[in-house]
């Protein structure tokens, strides 16, 4: 249960697939155009409810409540062995031609 004033993320469908009239590849044409934003919840609600939020600039935006206390979890990625090989090669190149600093 999210409380009024909580920072949340909402989702909405801007255009249903059948409403999309722009020149689009077939794969995109088959999808809804979806939208997300964040804001302060204007009334108590639970996940999946249709809600209103006040965004960072003070706009009122409607949508489905999909996340309470949203956060980012993008990262530096998993180990990529190819990069270690490149780094080793570059250090060897430098050892051969001599650093110039």
């Amino acid at each position: 249960m999210a409380k009024k004033g909580d920072w949340v993320r909402i989702h909405s469908v801007v255009l249903k697939a059948e409403e999309r009239t722009a020149k689009l590849p077939e794969d995109t044409q088959a999808c809804d155009l979806e939208q997300w934003t964040k804001g302060f919840l204007l009334a108590d609600a639970k996940l999946g409810d249709e809600v209103e939020v006040e965004t960072a600039v003070g706009r009122i935006e409607k949508g489905t409540l999909i996340d309470e206390a949203p956060y980012y979890d993008h990262s530096y990625g998993k180990f990529v062995p190819e990069l270690i090989a490149i780094d080793k090669q570059l250090r060897e190149e430098m050892a051969e031609i001599g650093g110039d600093k």
């Binding site: 409403e19 689009l24 965004t55 706009r59």
Partner: protein, 469 residues
Amino acid sequence: MALAKDYASVMGRSNDIQKDALGLDYAEFETSPIAFDYEKLMTSTGYTLEEVNRIQSQYGVGNTPLLEARNITKLARKYAKPGYGARIFIKDEAANASGSFKDRRAACAVYHAKKLGYKGVMAATSGNYGAAVASQAAIQGLKCIIVQECYDSKGVGQPEIVEKARKCEALGAEVVQLTVGPELFYSFLSILEDTGYFNASLYSPFGIAGIDTLGYEIVQQCREKLGKDPDMVVCTTAGGGMVTGTARGVRKAGCDAQVVSASIDLSGLSMASDVDFNKKSCTTGHTGFGVPYATDPDHSDVPRSAARPLRYMDRYVTITQGEVMYMTEMLAQLEGIERGPAGQTALAAAFSLAQELPEDNILVVSETEYTGAGKHVQPQLDFAKQNGIDVRIGDPKEEVPGKSVVLPASPALFKYKEADVDHFRASLIKKAVKKAGVKPTESDLEFLAEETKKDVDFVKSVLEKEGLL
């Protein structure tokens, strides 16, 4: 009565919304169905180079260091014939307030918005420009909304774009995120209409005027440091603003250096495809933006784009994703500066281009960008692997965009590909005439010659072949 906000109604009001949101009526620059007065549009900003410099200095932008990449130069010389391998310099644009050259565009656009009395600014961008507008809005005290194309239909976002969203929010902006598709413009216009904010378009004359200082600084710094002008300036090219503004600044400084556009080759991938969206292992600086914007600059979010790359570029070269990723590692390992991959497109091309220039030549790469979680070689390659892309070490010539990322097995394998600029020029000429649907006049032919940095005879020969003259 409230205005209808459905797709057709909002798009139908597009011209009026844009006019209100730019404080600029593009109709006054139109001279015929084909031509418009480009220089009049550019001077309509009323901002001289000195004025732009003053604004940028006040807001944490510009006067970035010009770094000599001594070790990268040394390595390039190892693979060049004797006496060849130009000195490579890098303009460290990551030193700007929000970490990229886009601050130059944003500083002027936000300044202009504030001067005209707008309460907020908006920009449609998935790239560094969002962070730049958010940063300048914070500094100059305006509200800011960034609209970005971020996710595919499964809700999976490009790590680089997700990072940009985080950064925009960290700088106080609201971020509206969308799935793939050009109808982003509808959401953008609709919010623009509701809020009455300024359209801080990437392609406004205010934005492009902001880049002139970059080219000017490059020449000034070369003269101060080296006592001579650069021989070649290489610009990463997507929407074309970088190459347009940099070349304008270089020329304003009285320098005739060759200006080279460089893009990552993403041929074969559709930019509007939901499936292809996450098969890209880079989100900008690629041909998916570079070629369409060069050959049809006016399909952006303003009626006439101030970024007109074919007016300025001398050459257009491409490079692969694998070469750019490798170069990002090279910059960190050999020069001790860790920067984001997108800014390295020009540097990867420069490594190869420098090998064809004599040792006493000066080659300048016009930018770097900030790096961080998501916006870094490792998460981008990890993401590529998760999306079924074959990441391997080998010959970059074998890379197939959307299928593989081939990291060069040796620095010897870096080799740019020369694109046929005359082909792009012919494409621009044909599109411009077909779009207008009229027979070009003599002054239209002259306009198209200026648009493509060619003469009237070239324009005529293109149109004659198509039966458009």
